[in-house]
């Protein structure tokens, strides 16, 4: 007889004495024997029929009184209600609150954004623009942190909110630069209204409005179609040197160390964005200082 048959017979309990003798002491017999000795320990706990029956009768009476089912399950309907609430509030938030679209540029990076009404925004380095996508139809409003050039499609009011003021237009081209303690708006086409904490100013093409450290300037510029930075050049007219250096750091992703230089002196000029040596010359020559280009992205400017 084969093992398989032996096991089958063992299961059925049809082993003859002869079979038993034949397999006595074999591995098969020992393991099966051990198993059948061990299994009773897994017997289900004693079920007290009378006890359980009276428990059932109680449950049935209380159910008949209440007219509904089992007390222990109250959590379930409650959870259902809670789930519906959560779902509704999520839907509510989703429908009413408008998600803001945020576009950010890193240092030494520029990007172009087409707004839902096909207005065009070019973001300069290290800047952020946020606008609501869904509510755009009702209100054209963007929030700007940094510098951007706007070509606004004709239509209703268009607002650019910055920490220093609001720029309001109808359809036009203008540049907004909002850096630390520095706020500058230049209008290139149409009419722009700038509303800062101090005043409300209307700008015609090629007029500039600027606040540096609380000091307001309005200036007429020579004719330009768009800001020079769009063409890869930052230009300044009578701007404190420190803001020029900050812009230089943003465009080249370097840090500038200043030694013995008056950073409040006014600078008029420009530097290009794709040649650091040339740019450094452009900055240092007019104000008569030395520059040194170090490794690990450092530049030292020192007075003579």
């Amino acid at each position: 007889m084969k093992d398989e048959d032996y096991i089958k017979k063992w299961l059925e309990g049809t082993l003859t004495e002869e079979d038993e003798r034949a397999f006595k002491g074999s591995e098969q017999q020992k393991s099966l024997d051990r198993l059948s000795r061990a299994l009773p320990a897994f017997k289900a706990p004693e079920y007290d029929v009378a006890d359980e029956l009276s428990r059932l009768e109680q449950a049935r009476t209380s159910k008949a009184e209440e007219g509904r089912i089992v007390p222990m399950k109250w959590m379930k309907p409650l959870l259902r209600v809670a789930a519906v609430f959560v779902l509704l509030s999520v839907v509510y938030v989703f429908l009413t609150r408008d998600a803001l679209t945020t576009v950010e540029t890193l240092v030494a990076e520029k990007t172009e954004i087409v707004l839902p009404d096909s207005s065009l925004v070019t973001l300069n380095a290290h800047s952020r623009l946020m606008y609501p996508t869904k509510k755009w139809k009702d209100k054209r409003k963007v929030t700007l942190d940094g510098e951007g050039f706007f070509k606004v499609a004709k239509g209703s009011r268009f607002d650019v909110e910055t920490s220093s003021g609001v720029v309001r237009v109808l359809g036009t081209e203008f540049n907004v630069k909002n850096r630390e303690n520095y706020f500058e708006v230049i209008c290139y086409e149409g009419l722009v209204q700038v509303q800062s904490a101090q005043q409300v100013v209307k700008l015609n093409p090629n007029q500039m409005f600027r606040i540096i450290n609380g000091e307001v300037t309005t200036e007429a510029l020579s004719l330009q179609v768009s800001p020079s930075w769009l063409a890869g050049e930052s230009s300044f007219s009578s701007v404190p040197l420190k803001y020029v250096i900050q812009e230089f750091e943003r465009q080249y992703d370097v840090s500038v160390i200043i030694k013995n230089v008056d950073i409040d002196q006014r600078f008029t000029g420009a530097f290009i964005h794709n040649d650091i040596t040339l740019a450094l010359k452009a900055i240092s020559l007019p104000v008569n200082i030395d520059y040194q280009l170090e490794e690990n992205k450092q530049v030292i400017l020192s007075g003579k």
Binding site: A41, A44, Y47, E52
Partner: protein, 171 residues
């Protein structure tokens, strides 16, 4: 006017009689299938309450399979279903024992292995095997409980044993 009890189990006496007849089997069936953690006792209660709710529709002869089906379906839909745990009863240590520590340890190891092996079986394999081996239920009876053929029961028992022996190892 006499209430018609025919075609249902709404008669209290009959209902209680059915409980005495089937509750234990149902309990043990659920215990071996799902383990103690899933409260087979409560499941039995729920199944019988459901039987009471539907007492008009369920014939006496169909009551047993109704109960088994209801309880099994309940577990199928149970989201909080726990993993099957089967505990073995440990014999109380005798005050004087002739058993060597090695034997006691080996024994415990074997039981743990067997427990794991049993828990690793499918619900169907486990309930079939244990009803047969521990409760001594006949193939025919198990086949009726599970709603499968006797042949299938036989096959399941054999497969279960095969798996157990492989997992526990021949000692």
């Amino acid at each position: 006017m006499a209430i018609k009890t025919q075609g249902g189990v709404c008669d209290e006496k009959l209902y209680n009689e059915l409980f005495k007849r089937h509750a234990k089997d149902l309990h043990n069936f659920l215990h071996y299938k799902y383990g103690a953690e899933n409260n087979p006792g409560d499941l039995v209660q729920e199944a019988f309450l459901k039987l009471w709710d539907n007492c008009h529709k369920v014939e006496e002869e169909k009551a047993r399979s109704f109960l088994f089906t209801v309880a099994t379906n309940k577990m199928l839909n149970e989201l909080s279903k726990k993993q099957t745990v089967l505990r073995y009863s440990q014999e109380k240590p005798k005050s004087q024992t002739s058993e060597s520590p090695e034997y006691v340890m080996e024994e415990k190891e074997y039981m743990d292995k067997l427990q794991n092996a049993l828990e690793s079986l499918t619900e169907q394999q486990r309930v079939t095997f244990l009803l047969n081996r521990i409760e001594g239920k006949k193939h025919k009876e198990i086949a009726e409980m599970l709603g499968i053929s006797r042949k299938a029961v036989e096959k399941r028992i054999y497969t279960a044993l095969d798996i157990l022996r492989k997992k526990v190892g021949d000692i």
